[in-house]
Amino acid sequence: MKKNVLVLMSLMLISSIAVAGCGSKTDNGSSASGETSDSTQGKPFEITFRHALIGERRQGTLDLTMEAVKKMESEVPGLKVKMDGVDGEVNRKDKIRGEMASGNVPEIFDAFGSPDVKTFAKEGKVLDITPILEELGIKDKFLNLDAWSVDGKVYGLPMSASAEGVFYNKEYFASKGFEVPKTYDELLALMDKIKADGKIPFSSASKSAWVPLMLTNQIWSRLAGPEVTAKFSTGEAKWTDPAVTEAFKIHQDWVNKGYFKKGELGLEYVDYNTQFINGDSAMMFDGSWAASLFQEGGAGVSLAGKIGFFNFPPMPGGVGDQTSIMQDMNNGYAFSAEVAKNPQKLAAVKSFIKNFYTEDMQMRFLVERGSLPCMKLDEAKVKEQVKDPMMQEIMMMLLHSESSYAAFDALVPADVTTEIGNQIQKIISNITTPEEATAAIQKVQDEANADAE
């Protein structure tokens, strides 16, 4: 009798585990078969829209995006969009990669074109949207889709563009009689004057290495030419080239001359903006995305109308176009490759692209949110609608520069980006020389180039 009880108990234990296992299996099976047979129009279905527009600062952008989402919901019968907001960094470095590996990719997701989406595309995990763009006739309306294209096929679309340059405090400049520097020497003289006045010439916060690297990237692109960064991965140019090394040296010189805040390696990007907003620093080298700080709801709204923007001045002995600007269209949306198997979902994606990537939307993003357009806009309309003088300056700078280059992290493999970040922090803390730093970066670049072949 007792034997039976024991056996029964053990059997129950095992079977409960087995049942639990099977339960989830049958669950998956039914939902999977449900999806594939579900091709009739109008049947309720759901797609996930992963965005990184969380937090107060991005609320306005989310509101605008929601308008396109609402239109998509009304256009596609049965569609329900599940908005899934995740912190950008967490999504990019962690969540989306895990989902790529497991195969549960959200239908629409926030992504970086290069190198992320390009890597996903090579594995066949993201949707080739070239046919959709052609059908909608908007393929040629974008300024530049290089970051999103592999072998001529497009795998995602940017949200907006961004350009990098110098924000400066107009009021302060006027009160001291300072002028926007036209040459590199004028910039150096200006920084000395600002320093003598007791202010920090440039904001600095280098806990995250990309923040100081915006400036270094600009300087090496002036000295070695805007095309140089793209040539590192092909081996045509080297980090150890004198002009590139010189840029790292200049950055180190600026640190040692006190053009940046002391203790910058312990500061977060938020401090970068704060130093500028509270008047500790007179200039801030940053992306055009920072323009939203000085608009309604931004932390620096009290400075609205008092902020100017100028392009980094030409450098003596620099190679190539000296008005060139860093222009980036790397952050945007990509779509799961699974969408292609389901006509309803494909229709939803098409509808999103149709409603989100319109001239009207781009203009509203520019006027209301200060984000630069990634599509070609009518110049006259831009001039007429953009009232904010700072945005006008940014747009004028874009119109007046003859060339642009992508940010370095879109052009070199991720491990090189990590190493550059490591080395720039060493440069800032003066524990390495520019020559040693570029040699170390080149070593990682060589390894990455060899791996790629």
Partner: protein
């Protein structure tokens, strides 16, 4: 007793569920991690190529990896030689306090209850170059402000101090519990024999709490080997990788860089290192801490 318990089948049936769970959640992940350590898997691809020992040799020949190992070493040394003595002294002091003992216990245990993220940010303020409490004090006494978290020279030390502060309370509570369970008679008898306070600590209290101290050292070594969260919150491994430990090195160089194969190799190396350190400690030191019988 009866036939059922003599039947080997019964034992197997009882053991199987446990074994299954153990295999599913411990053995399988370990083996699969080891397997991917030998591949060039990028974390997404369906095709995985075996590359032999390349990932392991790459890690072991990378000076950045060894500097992260060294930082783990600092964690261990700091825990064993600074944190543990401090906690012992603090425990002895609290144990002998007559009034407000509960308050001291609670106050000192507080940091352990707080999340690492909160502690990291809190200490970030204390270490702040401009407005931080620490630099305010230094400047008040006429010193030069120190760039605690921003300088590669001081960043590691700053984190070690924070980490010590965070976990001291946990260890103090453990040691305190051991001290308070020592029968009062022993102490009283020694007092009657004329032993001084210091003598009583040395001859009675310390030997009797040795097993607990051994456990505390063990825990702090294991904790040092897997430290990562406090570093990510406070410095992200920077500046210039000066505070990277093995775990953050793995995250920074392997996961961020689309190199899961490399990351798995690293996690296996960390596993081996941790095993070696803990086994060495068990064999060399913990065994000597004798069992106490009253």
């Amino acid at each position: 007793m009866n036939k059922a318990l003599r039947n080997p089948m019964t034992y197997i049936l009882f053991v199987i569920p446990g074994m299954l769970l153990l295999f599913m959640f411990f053995v399988y992940p370990l083996i699969s991690s080891l397997y991917y350590g030998f591949t060039n898997w990028n974390g997404i691809s369906d095709h995985v190529k075996l590359v032999g020992f390349r990932n392991f040799s790459k890690a072991l020949s990378d000076p950045a990896f060894w500097s992260s190992v060294k930082n783990n070493g600092y964690f261990i040394l700091f825990s064993v030689f600074i944190q543990v003595p401090i906690t012992i002294v603090a425990s002895l002091m609290i144990a002998n306090v007559k009034k407000l003992q509960g308050l001291y216990k609670t106050a000192i245990f507080m940091p352990t209850v707080m999340s690492t993220a909160v502690i990291g940010i809190l200490w970030g303020f204390i270490y702040n170059y401009d407005v931080g409490l620490l630099n305010k004090i230094i400047v008040f006494f006429g010193g030069q402000p120190v760039d605690w978290l921003g300088s590669p020279k001081t960043a590691m030390l700053s984190i070690l101090i924070t980490n010590c502060w965070q976990w001291a309370g946990f260890y103090i509570v453990m040691i305190l519990a051991a001290i308070l369970t020592i029968p009062k008679e022993l102490d009283e008898a020694a007092m009657i024999d004329g032993a001084t306070g210091l003598q009583r600590v040395r001859r009675i209290t310390m030997p009797l709490i040795m097993p607990v101290i051994s456990v505390v050292i063990m825990l702090s070594i294991a904790g040092s080997m897997k430290a990562a969260d406090i570093i990510i919150v406070m410095t992200k491994g920077g500046p210039a990788s000066s505070t990277d430990v093995m775990a953050t090195y793995m995250i920074k160089y392997a996961i961020t860089n689309f190199k899961y194969g490399y990351g798995n190799a690293l996690s296996f190396i960390i596993f081996i290192f941790t095993m070696v350190v803990t086994v060495l400690y068990q064999v060399l030191i913990a065994k000597r801490a004798e069992r106490i019988d009253y």
